[in-house]
Symmetry: C2
Subunit: 115 residues, 2 copies
């Protein structure tokens, strides 16, 4: 698999990208709204994630000339095509969460840590 695909996978597989894209399903949000919607993300990580997604053409950033400026984020058509793929992954994680936590517990109980 070529280098660019690896690089794109690194970005879109990132948990924060998946969550940001999920929050923008069918709606435009402001920075502060996204910050509240994506629990646990820092302002800096949200800024970086939004900039990468904008650079890749997955979302648009619109600055409205108000005081203070209002900045809106929305998915592009390309970003919308990514939604289904990331949604499947997030749903998988949610569905199998308890099973995986049980597996981790069994693994840790059976094996001493290896370095």
């Amino acid at each position: 698999m070529c280098r660019e695909v690896l690089q794109i996978l690194s970005l879109i597989g990132d948990k924060w990208s998946i969550l940001v894209i999920g929050c923008l399903r069918d709606q435009t949000l402001r920075f502060g709204e996204l910050h509240r919607a994506v629990t646990g993300i820092s302002q800096r990580m949200l800024t970086l994630t939004l900039r990468q997604l904008e650079r890749d053409g997955l979302l648009t950033r619109t600055v409205h000339p108000t005081v203070p400026p209002r900045v809106d984020y929305a998915l592009t058509p390309l970003g919308t095509t990514l939604l289904d793929a990331t949604t499947a992954l997030a749903e998988w994680a949610d569905t199998h969460r308890e099973h995986i936590i049980d597996n981790r517990r069994s693994y840790d109980a059976a094996k001493p840590p290896r370095n």
Copy 2:
């Protein structure tokens, strides 16, 4: 979204996890075969990725008592359920690769780097 789902997304969204799981579709592979199949991965990163996937119950690690020992990796039924979700993401990245590279070029040409 809860902490565990975030943590699971971090693991399964990782590009190396996606590629390792993809390589094990319908087949059992040895460490060296996986190392050759997943272009660009270091031995250490492959070891870490395999251990995390084993801990989560997504693959099995079978040691055969030969000299030297042969170690086989195969997907579990749970790992197989993850295949479709990750495949969709990898296919999306492959399909839209050129479009995204073009978008990055336009973005970088239009805007000076921001810090």
